[in-house]
Subunit: 208 residues, 2 copies
Amino acid sequence: MRVLIPLFPGVTTLDAVGPYEVLRQLPGVEVHFPALTPGVVTDGANNLGLRADSAFAEFDSADVLVVPGGPGARPLQSDDVLLAWIARMHAGSRWTTSVCTGSLILGAAGLLRGLDATTHWSAVADLEAHGARYTEERVVVRDRVITAAGVSAGIDMALTLAERLAGPVPARAAQLSVEYDPQPPFDSGAPSKATPEVMAYVTERRRR
Amino acid sequence: MRVLIPLFPGVTTLDAVGPYEVLRQLPGVEVHFPALTPGVVTDGANNLGLRADSAFAEFDSADVLVVPGGPGARPLQSDDVLLAWIARMHAGSRWTTSVCTGSLILGAAGLLRGLDATTHWSAVADLEAHGARYTEERVVVRDRVITAAGVSAGIDMALTLAERLAGPVPARAAQLSVEYDPQPPFDSGAPSKATPEVMAYVTERRRR
């Protein structure tokens, strides 16, 4: 079973790495990280580099496509070469998925028209501009398209997907392997849960 | 504020990337990923490469040290050069932390003797061999040492640390930025929660 996680400059690393660490636990899975050209791509914060092990052009099909987001996802909404590749992969995939603003790439490729979907809370209007119906859930499964909310939601998405790909025991085993028994020390992980002060602080910092 | 996340071949990528995505949100933080020599290191599954942006030798001190784990952590328990560097960093750090089996490196460097600490559930005996008192909690804070349980626990650890480094609002803002409002689709993320069937499946696969 081939899982492709496309990389690009400005990717948010956790969007890619969270699903990777879950899905690679499943039997028979091979994960590749293609980019326009193989080599290191640098993340949105310009600190961490992930190595793309292959080029988009090397793949004609995938069983699972996981499109991460990040600041670099927005300009890709007008990258015709990438969007054509995404649409081609989707035509043959069992599951096409996104994390965070990776949904904007699926949307720009025309895959979310009329579909319920989610994205990072800061990108709702951009998602809707592609004809998707924003759904305020952490993981949205519709037909064979799964979209996840921001960044860390990719882990929940991947577990949801793992159960569909490999059944209940391997999916739960993957959760146990990465010891995903979350216990955040506070409860501010969604706009509905954040105080106005926290919301204002984040908004101000994201503006810079 | 300088955060160092040392990398090595066989690192589990989520151990490093989870804390990175949280801590990089804090004001005034710069994160570096040193390794023995700069360049790409490959993870435990031999699929994903992370780029080390610097060498251990470039750093004399750090405010925060985050030591990730992975299959590659075990051989490092006898790497005297690395262990001396870890001990030197710890001597001057505000916080010394580990994720997953990164705790075995802290232990081998002599930092956990007589201290409460945690690690991945599969490595409890190895942790205790270094004189630590294993504590079955997801994040263990003692003095200025914080250890986290397996893989994904690094996110919870980093939020705990973020509040101590930057205060309540920036820490909650970091949680909101990475939308860490976990909703796993099932509840099998710790040995105490896994069924015998899941436990047997994981144990068998880890043996290979």
